[in-house]
């Protein structure tokens, strides 16, 4: 079974891109957070598989971090924030779902074209992983751009971060320091943004970042 390693890695990385697409068309906040948990779970599986095939036990730590923090702690905490704030369940997307999905597909195609062409010298697994990782990063950015709600943007940012972790684990011999710092940075970003949400809420009674723009005296 020489191809099992490659196929499984391919499947998991492709699954991450797929879940990113699922994130892209969610219009409810709670389901967005649920799907994000799935996103982090797939990432954890992918990283664990990489740890298995690369014989790199330290990657299991990364997988555990992804599972613990990103799949459980952060979604639960964000869900509590959403509940505490009592914010409306609808996400106001800026662009319609159809065009957004088309954009997403174009981005995936772009990242495939670029990455497969650039990384001709890398191993096939690393090539596929890097291409998918770039797709996940671009989709994360697209999520951030198409949401008006701060929580939605946080989720977009964290899925982007997941793409980075995928890229970091796909390449052989990346030291553990990178993953830990990445995990911590996401946690810190989450804390900071969480605090910001409360501050915005305190001041403007909404987490719609449009209120910030209004406060700065601008039109949208």
């Amino acid at each position: 079974m020489p191809n099992l390693e490659f196929d499984t890695a391919h499947l998991l990385a492709g699954g991450l891109v797929l879940v990113s697409f699922v994130l892209l068309y969610q219009d409810r906040l709670t389901s967005l957070l649920n799907i994000y948990a799935v996103h982090a779970l797939v990432l954890a599986l992918s990283v664990a598989w990489q740890a298995n095939i690369q014989d790199a036990p330290h990657l299991y730590v990364t997988a555990a971090l992804a599972l613990g923090f990103k799949a459980i702690v952060i979604p639960v905490a964000l869900r509590r924030i959403v509940a505490r704030l009592g914010i409306h369940r609808e996400i106001e997307t800026v662009v319609g779902i159809g065009p957004t999905m088309l954009c997403g597909m174009a981005l995936v195609a772009l990242s495939m074209v670029v990455m497969l062409r650039v990384t001709t010298e890398a191993t096939p697994i690393a090539r596929e992983d890097l291409a998918f990782a770039l797709a996940v990063v671009l989709l994360g950015l697209l999520i951030m751009v198409t949401r008006r709600n701060a929580v939605g943007q946080v989720v977009g940012f964290m899925s982007l971060e997941n793409g980075l972790v995928l890229a970091a684990t796909g390449a052989r011999g990346m030291p553990l320091v990178v993953e830990i710092s990445a995990a911590f940075s996401i946690l810190i970003a989450f804390i900071v943004i969480g605090i910001f949400l409360f501050r915005i809420r305190e001041r403007f009674d909404t987490v719609d970042i449009g209120a910030l723009d209004q406060f700065r005296g601008e039109r949208r």
């Binding site: 772009l110 670029v114 062409r117 751009v145 008006r148 970042i209």
Partner: protein, 669 residues
């Protein structure tokens, strides 16, 4: 050994700068900082002079500072030793002067910490032997001098001067950085000894020359890059003005010589043409600008532009002669330029000290409000007179010698085989001659209006003689001007190692010539004896005085008092600076400054006096700087919209840029 001594002095100066922060507000601060600076500069001066005269092998040192794989290279070759002498001589004189002048400083806490650091920076630029250290020290020198320019920042004019200086200095450093990048090439050898071995094509050489003319030229004050200089130099305290004008511009000249004559390899004829053309324009425009000024310090600053032009004429000639393998002529031109560098550092410092003394005594810089100071401050007036005579290139003082040497080099130009240079050089010579005459007029005006006649304002009436430290500094420099003028052979011989190193040839040994004559080429061609001229002037003066006292009639005569040309007793009716400059303004101003005169005549029956309006425009500013300023303002206005986007729009911008870059990558690869 000399290198270690000079570096130690630099260290002492940096410590003094830290001391200056702590003690600036106490009474001991001023004498402490200037005293330490004086001592450090004097020791460094002796070390550098020893290095220059002993002609020993150049000491070099690599300190583990700055970039880890490069280190900080320091070296004193003949060129560096000569410029160290200029820097530290100017530094010692300014520190001595400041021991007296600095006590009148209203904000010592803004001057004392930066002054020794500025001196240290100038020393380090000359010592540096790799591009990184050079640029770092160059920028350090610029920033410390900028801080000194801004020391009286409550004045809006000073703030504007500081702003323009900062912009020009950053621009200059940027240009030099690119020049060094081109010299280092793709291999990135940033040590000067590596650069020296590099071979450069004509395109790279032309680019480097342009960048160095922009970078070092803007610091030195070549027209049209001089605009910051007449604003920034007068804005600083006078001893700093003296350093900036007399010494820092020389450090810029050093940078030019180091890169173009040392690192760039054999020059081409067009580099000489470019430098000569710029230098010729600089010389005449500088002195014309100076003539139109009535602010004493600004006049001196503009006049620095003229002298930099003279130095660059010498350098341009040296480039041309070197390109056509005429080593003797090239050595003569280089020696003339370096001699003028030395001279200008002496008399420009002296004149700025004089202007500073006038400023302390009266609080005025405007010549139209001064006058008659020769009776109130006779010693300072005498020293200033020596400086004026020297800068006007009158024998037997030093200014004459270096300009004479430059002319000797110009007279060698018919031997150049290239026709463009053959035609250009005499034209530049004519410009040089014109500027020498105009400079004399300029300083007759500066001295006459400031020191002669009667006081035009009460403050000028109440002026008192300046303090002892200032006088000692001024008289030392005046004595050096005279010494360098009557014993020029020794200076020329001291400069021989520099031209030997850069050109591979030297001016014949002068010290062995009888009667201290200097013979730059051959006795049949031309020679000059400063000592004989001095003795002759002295004897003629004495004889005339004796003849008048001995043979003139002692009979008592009574007649109406001579009214000295102004029958109206008000001092306002004296000849003013503007009236002195008027004929020259009529001749050159219409072309050079688009000068327009308009007489506003009241209608008949109206008792108001008629008014003469004169308008001058700075064409360099109008043509070069105003368009750039306008373009920058327009672009900034357009970009300002990006300052106030929504967060989502910023994210979208980043996203769009990323996608575009990826697309470019996808298509391009």
């Amino acid at each position: 050994m000399s290198l270690v001594v000079v570096l130690a002095c630099v260290g002492v100066l940096l410590v003094a700068s830290v001391l200056g922060i702590g003690t600036a507000r106490t009474r001991a601060g001023t004498p402490l900082v200037y005293g330490v600076s004086l001592a450090a500069c004097t020791v460094a001066l002796v070390a550098a002079l020893g290095q220059l005269l002993s002609n020993a092998a150049a000491p070099a040192l690599v300190l583990p500072l700055a970039l880890p794989w490069l280190g900080a290279h320091f070296r004193i070759d003949a060129l560096a030793a000569f410029f160290l002498v200029v820097v530290d001589l100017g530094g010692s004189a300014a520190s001595l002067y400041a021991l007296g002048y600095g006590t009148h400083e209203s904000a010592p806490q803004r001057v004392l910490p930066f002054y020794p650091a500025f001196l240290a920076g100038m020393n380090l630029v000359v010592l540096a032997d790799d591009a990184f250290t050079f640029l770092l020290c160059w920028e350090f020198m610029s920033l410390t001098s900028w801080a000194l320019v801004m020391s009286h920042h409550r004045d809006a004019d000073n703030r504007r001067a500081g702003y323009i200086y900062l912009v020009m200095a950053s621009f200059g450093t940027f240009a030099l950085m690119l020049a060094f990048g081109l010299l280092a090439g793709p291999t990135g050898g940033y040590a000067f000894e590596v650069m020296r071995t590099g071979q450069h094509g004509p395109l790279i050489a032309a680019l480097v020359l342009t960048l160095v003319l922009l970078g070092a030229g803007s610091k030195a004050g070549l027209v049209p890059l001089h605009v910051w200089l007449p604003l920034a130099h007068p804005a600083a305290p006078s001893h700093v003005s003296a350093l900036m004008s007399g010494v820092m511009t020389k450090v810029a000249v050093y940078g030019f010589i180091r890169i173009v004559l040392d690192l760039l390899g054999t020059p081409s004829w067009w580099s000489s043409m470019a430098v000569l053309t710029l230098a010729g324009i600089t010389t005449v425009m500088g002195v014309l600008y100076a003539l139109m000024q009535h602010d004493l310090k600004r006049l001196l600053a503009y006049h620095t532009v003229e002298n930099i032009g003279i130095v660059f004429i010498g350098l341009g000639l040296a480039l041309g002669f070197k390109a056509y393998a005429m080593p003797l002529a090239a050595a003569l031109a280089l020696t003339a330029a370096l001699f003028h560098v030395f001279n200008h550092s002496l008399f420009k410092s002296l004149l700025f000290f004089g202007a500073g003394s006038v400023l302390t005594a009266t609080g005025e810089r405007d010549m139209e409000r001064l006058g008659g100071l020769i009776h109130r401050m006779p010693l300072a007036a005498f020293a200033f007179l020596v400086g004026c005579a020297a800068i006007s290139a009158l024998p037997p003082l030093n200014g004459f010698v270096s300009e004479w040497l430059t002319f000797q080099a110009i007279l060698l130009s018919p031997a150049v085989p290239q026709w463009g240079l053959k035609i250009l050089v005499p034209g530049v010579g004519a410009l040089l001659a014109l500027s020498a005459a105009l400079a004399a007029a300029c300083f007759v005006k500066a001295y006459g209006v400031t020191f002669l006649g009667r006081p035009r304002t009460p403050v000028a009436e109440k002026a008192t003689e300046t303090d002892r430290f200032s006088l000692v500094a001024m008289f030392t420099l005046a004595a050096l001007c005279l010494l360098a003028g009557i014993l020029p052979g020794f200076v020329i011989d001291a400069l021989a190692p520099v031209s030997q190193a850069l050109i591979g040839s030297r001016v014949p040994v002068q010290a062995s010539d009888p009667w201290l004559t200097i013979v730059p080429i051959a006795a049949s061609r031309s020679s000059y004896d400063g000592l004989l001229v001095f003795v002759f002037i002295g004897l003629a003066g004495l004889t005339t005085a004796m003849a008048i006292h001995r043979f003139a009639s002692h009979a008592l005569r009574r007649s109406a008092a001579w009214d000295c040309g102004f029958p109206d007793p008000s001092p306002a009716t004296q000849y003013t600076a503007a009236s002195f400059a008027q004929p020259i303004r009529r001749v050159y101003g219409t072309l050079a400054f688009r000068a327009r005169e308009r007489v506003e005549m009241p209608p008949p029956g109206d008792a108001r006096p008629a008014v003469l309006h004169v308008s001058l425009r700075d064409l360099v500013w109008d043509w070069f700087y105003a368009p750039v300023e306008g373009a920058v303002a327009t672009a900034a206005g357009r970009l300002n919209q990006f300052q106030f986007l929504t967060i989502r729009k910023y994210l979208s911008l980043v996203f769009a840029l990323l996608v575009i870059l990826l697309l470019v990558l996808a298509i391009w690869l």
